[in-house]
């Protein structure tokens, strides 16, 4: 159908996919340079969420280094950085009751959020993006929320822009009354800033072999909740991190609990997707984790107001693909610029956007008609502080995968004391291949939620304000529709129903008593975990109709 449709086409100098920290930083920097040079430049940002920030989910403790480079006057401009981090606490949970407090001296220095030369802030990344979008529009950037980029336009090996997904296509694939064919947005340069496991980025990495010579990328799933808490429990700027229980020694991850402003606390769990036991459910681990006294004392008497989940890309430098290809760049978490040693990705993502904007503007200002591979980007990027950070912490994640949380932690502690001089550690098993057969483990019997601190999946998804137009094709594509029941069910007890944090996947019994794989795509919070963790790599996440997905408030 798509082939016969006549599509409208608009041309821009630069098109950016995704109104997140890296995409918006790039957009702002491009216009700043153009305005300073009094040169006309057209920059367009498309965002699949219904508004900027709707799909943004992050911790977050924010290091404002890149922001200060972009807007030295961010304070006067009213950037939503209102709660400086005031106190760090780091815990190792021994079991459901006991915990060790780690003295600051034993915590890798990259994880310190107070002291040092730069204050860090407890922020909502969604609100940061909403604010960045206002700045960008003020500078002359065109931002289009509710428009989902469907694929890159590639002509003769060169990326020429992108195709917006059709709107108003029914579940049967036929156009409805409201049908509107997606447009072509053509550009001299296209920046892909979709976030972790971007569905176009993934295809570009394959098509241009960008990951050649790199370790397979590693991911985690981050689950997060926002709580209103009683005033007497609130200590704005308090930053807690921890690991250990409830995750077993072969399952890596850690939790966070930050006191933000407005009497709110954010709490979350990041669980590495390199876990082996298919019975594990990140959602249920998170729910039971909140009952630990160390966490519960902050949440008790409070009310949960928002829930969400998102995969994060955490492989670091060993896994960072080449970010350039003819006609475009891969930036931020779409490439994988997060610094896992700091548990922070916003600052490096923004920096990659700034560097990209500088390379693109330099080319365009120099009369470049587009379509080139911007090797100047790579030089600038490798000379940046963000790259230096990633280089220093390249072994952080792999060491934890290899030596466990304690052994890896010790490696990282020593390595940081030595300034990164220990030999580099690699983890070459892709996350999906780490899963072992269900028969090798005992089924995990998770405690029932109490409705006060812990909740079931569906009431959680309800708080993500997720919605998709129901009458549209399912955006979770199975390469082999029979595989989940034929292979995954007997081998891995079909793990999708457990790793999905939104109840999208279910194995239900048909009328004739046979198991059937059901996909409730309307629940999808766009976290991309299924695309990453399915052991057979049978699930492909593609963009649904623009505007669908979660509507996160200040997440």
């Amino acid at each position: 159908m798509t082939e016969q449709v006549e599509r409208d086409s608009i041309e821009f100098d630069v098109v950016i996919v995704g109104a997140g920290p890296s995409g918006l930083a790039a957009a702002c920097r491009l216009m700043q340079q153009a305005n300073a040079a009094e040169q006309e430049l057209t920059v367009c940002v498309v965002e699949k969420g219904s508004e900027v920030g709707a799909h943004i989910l992050s911790g977050a403790v924010f290091e404002p280094r890149a922001l200060a480079e972009l807007f030295p006057d961010w304070e006067e401009r009213g950037a939503p950085l209102t709660t400086p981090a005031t106190r760090d606490e780091v815990y190792l949970l021994k079991d459901a009751e006991k915990a060790l407090t780690l003295p600051n001296a034993l915590v890798p220095k990259s994880m310190h959020n107070t002291g040092g030369d730069m204050p860090r802030y407890v922020i909502s990344a969604g609100n940061l993006c909403r604010w960045l979008a206002e700045q960008a529009e003020g500078l002359g950037v065109e931002i289009f929320p509710g428009f989902a980029a469907q694929e890159a336009i590639v002509e003769e090996g060169v990326v020429k822009g992108l195709l917006i997904g059709d709107m108003g296509v029914g579940a049967d694939g036929e156009p409805k009354d409201s049908y509107m064919p997606g447009m072509e947005l053509r550009a001299r340069y296209t920046l892909f800033a979709e976030g972790a496991r971007g569905h176009i980025g993934k295809r570009l990495i394959e098509a241009y072999d960008l990951a050649e010579g790199k370790d397979p990328q590693h991911y985690g799933i981050g689950l997060k909740e926002l709580w209103d808490i009683p005033a007497e429990q609130h200590e704005p700027g308090l930053v807690l991190h921890g690991s250990g229980w409830p995750l077993d020694k072969n399952t890596h991850g850690g939790w966070f609990l930050y006191h933000a402003d407005n009497q709110q606390v954010v709490v979350g769990l990041i669980m590495d997707l390199s876990y082996q036991n298919p019975w594990l459910s990140p959602f249920d681990e998170f729910q039971r984790m909140k009952h630990h006294p160390v966490l519960a004392k902050h949440l008790e008497g409070g009310k949960r107001v928002a829930y969400g989940a998102r995969a994060i890309v955490k492989g670091g430098l060993n896994c960072l693909p080449k970010m350039t290809f003819p006609g475009g760049l891969l930036i931020g978490c779409d490439a994988g610029t997060l610094n896992f040693a700091k548990i922070k990705g916003l600052h490096t993502a923004m920096k990659s956007g700034l560097v990209a904007a500088e390379a693109v503007f330099e080319a365009i200002a120099g009369g470049d008609e587009g379509g080139q591979e911007l090797t100047a980007f790579t030089e600038k990027w490798e000379a940046s502080w963000a790259y230096a950070e990633l280089k220093e912490s390249a072994s952080f994640g792999p060491a934890i995968h290899k030596y466990g949380t304690l052994g890896g932690g010790a490696y990282n502690f020593v390595n940081q004391l030595l300034g990164g001089k220990l030999p580099n550690v690699h983890d070459t098993t892709p996350d999906h291949a780490a899963l072992k057969p269900a028969a090798e483990f005992e089924k995990i019997d998770y405690p029932k939620p109490d409705g006060k601190l812990s909740f079931d999946k569906l009431s959680s998804v309800f708080l993500s304000n997720t919605n998709h137009e129901e009458d549209q094709p399912c955006h979770l594509r199975l390469a082999d529709p029979e595989l989940p029941i034929r292979d995954n069910l007997p081998e891995y007890a079909e793990p999708a129903s457990r790793y999905c944090p939104a109840g999208v996947y279910e194995v239900v019994e048909d009328d004739d008593g046979k198991p059937r794989f059901q996909i409730n795509f309307q629940n999808c919070v766009h976290c991309k975990t299924c695309d990453i963790k399915d052991p057979a790599q049978n699930i492909t996440w593609v963009a649904p109709e623009g505007g669908g997905g979660p509507n996160y408030p200040n997440m």
């Binding site: 409208d8 608009i10 219904s50 508004e51 920030g53 709707a54 909502s124 969604g126 609100n127 909403r130 065109e142 289009f144 428009f147 917006i164 709107m167 108003g168 409805k176 009354d177 409201s178 509107m180 447009m183 947005l185 209103d228 407005n262 009497q263 107001v305 409705g451 309800f462 708080l463 304000n465 997720t466 919605n467 509507n551 408030p553 200040n554």
Partner: protein
């Protein structure tokens, strides 16, 4: 014929409503806002009338805070020609909105005014009717079909017993029901063009009216949380529970 369309900025229908901790109002901080769905239907109907050659100009109007211009831009992207924003930070009730619209009807002299039958935030279902009373114009509410012929408009209304068709002499007021049409999506080039379409800003004072509230909001309470169900083992147990616990038998 000129068509005046009223639109309202409301909390997005996908968003779960939260009450402020002090129960003073619904919490709108960082919440996604959107055009009221019934207003979208009103805009769509106006655009269809223009496509049929019945309407010549579409004027979109809203009454509300500065941010409500976002919804006017949406109306412009969908096909309105120009927009009027009556800017106020007060909590606008149906009567305030109707008074502002009545003044604009006087100024603009439209042949047809189309409004949503109600807004999904307060569900009042009053503004259209009040506007008809204030202007003395005929009204066709809860429209599921609108047909303009000469100086008359036939409005099919969804009433309890079925469908009722009324004929009004133009100029007239029409409020839209859910089944009138399925609104289109705004096209990206039209969203860009909408930024350049004219948008007038007026204050209630400019119109010589006040939109201040006449109703005092005392308290907002969320509905009681649902209690979990129980599985009963037998019919006898069910009857017993209905009789002695629920006391409904």
């Amino acid at each position: 014929m000129k068509v005046l369309v009223a639109v309202k900025r409301v909390i997005d229908y996908n968003v779960k409503i939260r009450v402020k901790p002090d129960h003073s109002d619904v919490d709108l901080t960082n919440v996604k806002m959107a055009m009221n769905p019934f207003c979208e239907i009103a805009v769509e109907e106006a655009v269809r009338l223009k496509e049929k050659g019945v309407a010549t100009e579409i004027v979109a109007v809203t009454i509300g805070p500065k941010a409500a211009q976002e919804q006017l831009r949406t109306a412009l992207a969908l096909g309105a020609d120009r927009a009027i924003h009556v800017e106020t930070d007060e909590r606008v009730e149906s009567l305030g909105a109707a008074k502002a619209l009545a003044k604009l009807v006087e100024e603009e002299q439209p042949g047809l005014v189309i409004l949503g039958k109600q807004a999904i935030d307060s569900d009042n279902n009053q503004t259209g009717q009040m506007l008809a009373a204030l202007t003395g114009l005929p009204q066709g509410t809860f429209a599921s079909a609108v047909n303009v012929e000469g100086d008359k408009v036939q409005v099919t209304r969804e009433v309890d017993g079925g469908l009722q068709t009324v004929e009004l002499t133009l100029p007239a007021i029409v409020t839209t029901d859910l089944r009138l049409n399925e609104p289109r999506y705004a096209k990206l080039p039209d969203i860009m063009k909408a930024k350049k379409k004219p948008l007038d800003v007026k204050s209630p004072a400019d119109l010589g009216i006040s939109v201040g509230s006449r109703v005092k909001l005392l308290k907002v309470e969320p509905p009681a949380e649902r209690q979990g169900g129980v599985k009963v083992g037998s019919v006898d147990e069910l009857v017993d529970k209905l009789k002695n616990e629920a006391k409904v038998l």
